[in-house]
């Protein structure tokens, strides 16, 4: 009898412990929001670099930000679209925002060139997918690449829902016109993408594209600091993010 009771107690303790673990998981994965919103509450502490792109000011045909970025980072120029490497580029509105309303809008609106780049997601699927930590999220929110750690498996490219990543299908060096000494060139077989100019931020400079834009289309700043210009813009204007329904929390915002 006593033996049985002991067994029973042991078992129920096990069940209770299991339930405890499960409820721990539940609280970890619940957002604490009453509504099923895609937004996640964040503790706004420290730095999270972000960008607002005001497309009302962006001039058609102007590629100054693209040129300066690609020169700054030794991005090669290939004719074959298969081999293409892009850090920042322009694509049709309808392609950048495929799930936004396209009904009754003019062809011009649909095809309006929109700037696009890595979103430096707060919850980046590429970082989840990377098997070696070659792509990782820094404390300041930048999703960075370690070119020496990348094994070239391209899982990050499959995982990125924005098509922001490029792979060096061939040796990029012969396709760079003037090699910039301030930033490393890459070799074939590794993935690369926009790094929010982390090398320039370290020197206290703004990202190259932000600085190069004569129309002030791009505003860069700390999203977790309420006093910054970027937060003021986000407060005063309706903005959109790319595919927010995926829960990646992009740090790049658009004014359309």
């Amino acid at each position: 009898m006593i033996e049985n009771r002991r067994k029973f107690l042991k078992k129920s303790a096990g069940v209770l412990a299991g339930a405890g673990v499960v409820s721990g998981f539940i609280s970890k994965y619940s957002t604490g929001f009453a509504t099923a919103s895609t937004e996640k509450p964040v503790a706004e502490k420290g730095i999270r670099w972000g960008m607002v792109i005001d497309m009302r000011k962006c001039v058609d045909g102007c590629v100054k930000c693209i040129d300066v970025c690609h020169v700054t980072h030794n991005v090669p120029e290939f004719d074959n679209p298969k081999d293409e490497i892009k850090w920042i580029w322009k694509s049709d509105y309808a392609k950048v925002f495929p799930s936004k309303s396209q009904q009754f809008v003019s062809a011009e609106t649909k095809q309006k060139p929109f700037l696009t780049m890595c979103n430096h997601c707060a919850d980046p699927p590429c970082v989840m997918a990377c098997p070696t930590g070659a792509t990782f999220k820094r404390k300041d929110g930048i999703v960075e690449m370690d070119f020496h750690r990348c094994i070239g498996c391209r899982f990050c490219m499959a995982a990125c829902p924005y098509g922001s990543r490029s792979f060096n299908w061939r040796d990029p060096r012969p396709a760079i016109e003037d090699i910039t000494q301030e930033y490393p060139t890459r070799e074939k077989g590794v993935v690369e993408k926009c790094n929010f100019c982390s090398e320039r931020l370290a020197k206290g400079q703004q990202p190259a594209c932000v600085e190069a834009c004569p129309e002030k289309v791009l505003t860069f700043g700390n999203l977790y600091d309420k006093k910054t210009e970027i937060r003021q813009i986000l407060k005063d204007n309706p903005t959109i993010q790319r595919k927010p329904e995926l829960g990646t929390n992009p740090s790049v915002f658009y004014i359309t």
Binding site: K82, P125, C130, T132, C150, I151, F167, G189
Partner: protein
């Protein structure tokens, strides 16, 4: 035991020579790929995986399907599988080996392959896939070889091997589940982002594996004078039939969800694969061929169970293998990248180099399988 693979007749050596020739061609092509980079393949910025990863996915299924003979024989004591169980295990060994080779062939930096172990990131499904695949390879080599060795000596297998065999049953399911999770966890690819992917992977694997085993059994009967027994073959045929039915049921469920819900993103990849999208329809004939041959094979399988016929069985098994190879080895991976996240339809054509590397790797697998089966048959016949 391995010396038994070094004796054989003319047919055996011609087959080996053919495989070696394909391997040499593959090595040459791979050297080109190492020199110039993956630009020599048809892959690109939009379709960033191609036949290599597709073969890998298909072959993980073949490897996993060994469980369909191991489980009835060891767990349910189904004696009729006594001769075929070793063939299943060795099929798993060769398939798992070339799975790993296909991953390496696909890597931009194959010299850094050990970074996966050196800098482990358990967040990544790749990390788990590498663990389970290598583990499965090891388990099958050890259990298959040990049991065969015991049989050669005319003694019963050592007791320590039993737990390893039972482990292989669970492990087999895990390798294909983890492989499905590589795809099923990507937020932006609608064709892959489905909970039914892992069950569908298992169903198609358990249809292809037993079908291949039946075909191998007929080959061994013809060329090696080794008979696994009609009862075993008929049981395998039943397993393959119902697994194939389950697979097509899952495919139907995918179609229903995509087209009844009418959500464009969910429909796009299926539209591209089966009807063409944006004026591009490269894979449409392949997919319909796969679908029609697959379903026809299932019907033939069902028919020949009432009226047994070796010819029909061979035709149906070949049909199932070809159909599901197209489905998994072409459609699933390439379809996942079309349209791209920017809603662009970019088509992919494998290059000569890519195809010869692929054939070379398959040849390596077939060579390993040939040698292992040669040993197994020699031992079994002597016993």
């Amino acid at each position: 035991m391995i010396e038994k693979a070094l004796t054989g007749n003319k047919v055996y050596w011609s087959w080996v020579a053919l495989l070696v020739a394909l391997i040499i061609l593959g090595i040459y092509s791979y050297s080109q790929q190492l020199t110039y980079g993956l630009t020599v393949t048809g892959m690109g910025r939009d379709v960033s995986w191609g036949v290599y990863i597709a073969q890998f996915t298909f072959l993980v299924g073949v490897a996993a399907s060994a469980v369909m003979v191991v489980l009835p024989y060891y767990l349910h004591d189904y004696k009729e599988f006594g001769k075929i169980v070793i063939i299943g295990e060795f099929l798993a060994v060769s398939a798992a080996t070339i799975c790993l080779l296909f991953i390496i062939a696909d890597m931009g930096h194959p010299d850094r392959v050990f970074y996966v172990l050196l800098y482990p990131h358990p967040n990544s499904m790749v990390f788990w896939d590498v663990q389970v695949l290598n583990g499965y390879l090891l388990i099958n080599i050890v259990s298959g070889w040990t049991v065969l060795e015991a049989e050669r000596k005319g003694i019963s297998p050592p007791n320590w091997v039993k737990p390893i065999i039972y482990l292989s049953i669970v492990w087999a399911v895990s390798i294909h589940t983890v492989t499905a999770f590589l795809y099923a966890g990507t937020p932006g690819r609608h064709l892959w982002l489905t909970a039914v992917l892992a069950p569908r992977f298992l169903a198609s694997a358990f249809a292809v594996g037993p079908s291949l085993l039946i075909l191998i059994s007929f080959i061994l009967r013809k060329f090696a004078d080794f008979d696994v027994g009609d009862k075993a073959i008929r049981k395998l045929a039943t397993i393959a039939t119902y697994a194939a039915i389950a697979n097509f049921f899952f495919v139907g469920a995918e179609f229903f969800t995509a087209f009844y819900s009418n959500i464009p993103g969910h429909k796009h990849s299926l539209q591209y694969l089966f009807f063409g999208l944006d004026g591009k329809y490269q894979l449409v004939p392949w997919m319909w061929f796969s679908m029609i041959v697959g379903i026809a094979s299932v019907l033939i399988m069902l028919y020949q169970q009432r009226k047994p016929s070796q010819k029909l069985l061979i035709a149906a098994c070949s049909g199932i293998v070809v159909s599901l190879w197209i489905d998994k080895g072409i459609g699933l991976i390439i379809g996942g990248f079309v349209p791209s996240p920017m809603e662009e339809v970019v088509e992919y054509f494998p290059t000569f180099i890519e195809i010869t590397v692929t054939l070379g790797i398959w040849a390596i697998g077939l060579l390993i399988l040939t040698a292992l089966l040669k040993v197994a048959v020699a031992v079994k016949k002597a016993a």
